[in-house]
Amino acid sequence: MDTIDIMKPENIVYRKPALLTDNIMHYCPGCSHGTVHKLVAEVIEEMGIQDKTIGISPVGCSVFAYNYIDIDWQEAAHGRAPALATATKRLCPDKYVFTYQGDGDLASIGTAEIIHACSRGENIVVIFINNGIYGMTGGQMAPTTLLGMKTSTTPYGRDAKLNGFPLKITEMLAALDGTAYITRQSVHTAAAARKAKNAIRKGFEYSAKNIGLSFIEIVSTCNSGWKLSPVEANKWMVEHMFEKYPVGDIKDVLK
């Protein structure tokens, strides 16, 4: 079989989702963001809701999410994405509205916004990337940084006495009446990515049912911040992050 034959449409087994733009991603090799972006693009494409979806990007590594998924976007101030999403969904109830936020954005500077969006039961989707570190600013401690974990602002390891404890914000949010679906996933293997995609799709579907907020945490790697190779970072995540942040559904009001 020559190249021309291989390129025949009936032989295609995989293609980049049409909604993923051709812009070169600024993410480091091995970063989970690229995979999660692809999953979000696939879900929007498969649901046929490109013209009905509005994304809200955060401050942090994924500030430029709007360069990669071909939908309308709003870029929020640090931590405020759930406030933008709240107004957008209430003013445009026929739209699918999601925020895409990191751990610094959502679990530190934006705690008030996420807690109250959850508490009000806004019919939005929140995708929460938890890699336990501030990537964009160069690897400082995040609220979700594990005890003992070295970052540029915890150079001797996170010490509970000095820096406080890691924040399991996802479990906190599950306790709020306004949340409909709360899950924690990862994308470090093909199987994990498939589950994460199903979770993202469920979140989008739930948001159209007006039953409250759907929250998908993705435990992620930051190999440049963690100073590990992509393969080592995946291994480290499984061995350490999953202990504190176990994957699986936490809440599903329709089950």
């Binding site: 490109q50 013209d51 009905k52 979806t53 509005i54 809200i56 500030v63 709007y66 071909d70 939908i71 309308d72 976007w73 709003q74 870029e75 929020a76 101030a77 405020r80 406030a83 933008l84 999403a85 709240t86 107004a87 957008t88 209430r90 003013l91 445009c92 739209k95 008030a112 916004e113 807690i115 109250h116």
Partner: protein
């Protein structure tokens, strides 16, 4: 005949929002403007016009709800008072940077800090000079009556959409709380989805196959891109300076002395002008109705005509800096102010006027 009813300034804001087709209001309670949201909640406009009204968890959140709503091309607004506006300044800077239209009502109270809940004009500089970070301007309009409060909501949105820029209605505790007759103009419906697509093609209305994706952002990491954007903003601000200056004059034709005052102070200065005129002293008053753009040319012209100018403000002297710049040394410029919620009487202003002009 248009209907006239007795309203508090704050209530006038709320009714005007409903009657002028505003799509959304997002706020957080703070004295002396809580009646705005209370009135909206009592009126339940979501059952009539479909207007969204939401009490946010903070002013940080309410201004960012405004950012989200404005991004969708909707007519959205918030209201607050001084300490709450300080919290909103981050969001206002982003709104200015993303070139979004919205109306922000600031019913000023005395500061700094928690200050007092009584009226003040001590946030002139915050509203007019920036407040948040970066080179930007809000359009600032200053009501002096409950009728102005009613009218300035619609005018504010007209300016906001014309220039894709945040507009601050800079009121104070007196204007917010006083009750006056207000003429209600005919109702304007909310804009339809088609009208929004036509008037705000930049908005996040959902990407259709016929156009590129719309991105609302204030971020540009490239120095030249950012500088070009800053210069584009400057062109916009210069166009606003050229086209939108609004002021009113009172006995300025033959004035030998001039008061400059905005908002509630302009009404007190009108009475002071009357007293001086009765005594044979030819006083006049200019009331800047737009604070940005400032009526610089008009004050400059009058500075060449009068013996002196006094800026009368409920603060330690903020607008007076702009008056001095406008007068540019053509005549002496004085200032008299009260603070902390204290309000001058016309007689007190007359006395200070005479002291400054050595007329007593």
């Amino acid at each position: 005949m248009a209907e006239k009813i007795l309203l508090k300034g704050n209530e006038a804001i709320a009714l005007s929002a409903i009657r002028n087709g505003v799509d959304g209001y997002f706020g957080y309670p703070i004295t002396p403007q809580s009646e705005v949201m209370e009135t909206l909640m009592k009126e339940k406009p979501w059952e009539t016009t479909g207007m969204v009204v939401l009490q946010a968890e903070s002013e940080l959140s309410s201004i960012n709800m405004v950012y989200g709503g404005a991004s969708c091309g909707k007519k959205v607004m918030t209201s607050s008072s001084s300490p709450g506006i300080s919290l909103m300044c981050e969001g206002i800077s982003y709104i200015a940077g993303a070139e979004l239209p919205c109306v922000i009502v600031d019913v000023m109270r005395g500061g700094p800090g928690l200050g007092t809940i009584q009226p003040s004009q001590s946030d002139y500089s915050q509203a007019v000079k920036g407040g948040g970070h970066g080179d930007y301007h809000c359009i600032v309009i200053a009501p002096a009556s409950a009728q102005d409060m009613y009218d300035f909501v619609d005018w504010g949105f007209e300016l906001a959409f014309k220039y894709r820029n945040p507009v601050i209605v800079l009121a104070d505790g007196i204007i917010g709380q006083l009750m006056e007759k207000v003429e209600l103009h005919p109702v304007k419906p909310r804009r339809t989805a088609e009208e929004i697509l036509r008037d705000a093609p930049w908005a996040t209305t959902g990407k259709t196959s016929g156009r590129e994706r719309n991105v609302i952002t204030s971020l540009s990491l490239d120095a030249n891109t950012q500088e070009n954007f800053n210069r584009k903003l400057l062109d916009k601000y210069n166009a606003i300076r050229e086209n939108e200056v609004k002021y009113s004059e009172y006995h300025t034709d033959d004035a030998e002395y001039l008061f400059v005052a905005f908002g509630c102070s302009s009404r007190i200065c009108e009475a002071a002008t009357d007293i001086l005129r009765e005594e044979g002293i030819k006083a006049g008053l200019i009331r800047p109705i737009t604070l940005f753009p400032f009526p610089e040319k008009e004050i400059s012209r009058l500075a060449g005509q009068v013996r002196s100018i006094m800026s009368i403000e409920l603060n330690l002297g903020q607008m007076v800096e702009d008056v001095r710049l406008a007068a540019n040394g053509q005549c002496p410029v004085g200032f008299y102010g009260r603070q902390g919620g204290n309000i001058y009487t016309p007689e007190e202003i007359v006395e200070e006027f005479k002291k400054f002009n050595k007329l007593s």
